[in-house]
Subunit: 177 residues, 2 copies
């Protein structure tokens, strides 16, 4: 099975010139989701991962299955005002304006070994924010796992020095590979 | 194992007088998540569920594990502007203002048997919107599964005539049961 066959490319979304990589056909296949969950887990199986961390909303789609596959906890990263307990936050720049993500202050246990996951690595802003949140709480960061990587945006550089793994790479905006 | 032991009650969130039922301790336990996923699936195992539908963001946390547990597809329900393909929408009233949810127009296959899931049944507005979206696309609705039900808000009535199942019930705002 090739996970790439379950990604639909939709031109000009959310704006002209952008090729959106749509994961809903993948979600529609139970077999493909099982395959992808195992593949996302594969590089980290001997790394003693104790928690998987992911940001809302699409990160949650892969976050809980991956956590369960690894027998690990799940730590949600949320937009402001969503988490009810004390939080720590990280603010980061977007193309226009800024965004802010939060986790609970008690989310990370001492010695926690955290794997971060998201559906897509583009410029890396969201994942960088997640890494900073994990670092703030003294997590041991095992690495970052992505379903899709847009390699031409070089988001991987922004995530150094951590290990980064992705299942599907697109090497240009419009290309099929 | 009692899933209720993994829910943390936090007073006065998001506003004074509201007791927020925090699921993050449950997410933090791989064993509790496995237990809850199996329990959410239990009433529907002989119902030939072909797809699980859930709304962002907390619905996603239980939606994909439940879909995988039942060997079913996952159909995400999203806020406006998030889905890249053609969508159908449902708008619904909130206490102040209104909200709108969307699914892809090609999300539901002919004869699809859909189980809807969310973490919390409060007044039922979000789930009612999900039901209307599923009905618009001629889904056969199997029922609705919730982790938590706030029975004193009577949300269940709003979801008639569909089968509703919940794992944990709170019978008053401040109570422990």
């Amino acid at each position: 099975m090739n996970a790439r066959d379950y990604i639909r490319s939709i031109p000009d979304f959310p704006r002209p010139g952008i090729m959106f990589r749509d994961i809903t056909p993948l979600l529609k296949s139970a077999a493909a989701m099982k395959h992808v969950t195992q593949q996302l887990a594969e590089p980290w199986r001997d790394q003693n991962v104790t928690a998987v961390m992911a940001a809302e909303a699409r990160g949650f789609v892969f976050g809980t299955p991956l956590a369960m596959e690894l027998g690990a906890a799940f730590i949600p990263v949320r937009k402001p005002g969503k988490l009810p307990f004390e939080t720590s936050a990280w603010e980061y720049d977007l193309e226009y304006g800024s965004d802010r993500l939060e986790i609970h202050r008690d989310a990370v246990d001492p010695g926690e070994r955290v794997l971060l996951v998201d559906d897509l690595l583009a410029t890396g802003g969201t994942m960088e924010a997640c890494l900073r949140l994990a670092e703030q709480q003294d997590a041991e960061i095992v690495g970052c796992s992505f379903l899709i990587e847009l390699t031409f945006l070089n988001g991987r550089e922004r995530l150094q020095p951590y290990d980064v793994h992705s299942l599907i790479a697109y090497e240009s905006e419009a290309g099929d590979d």
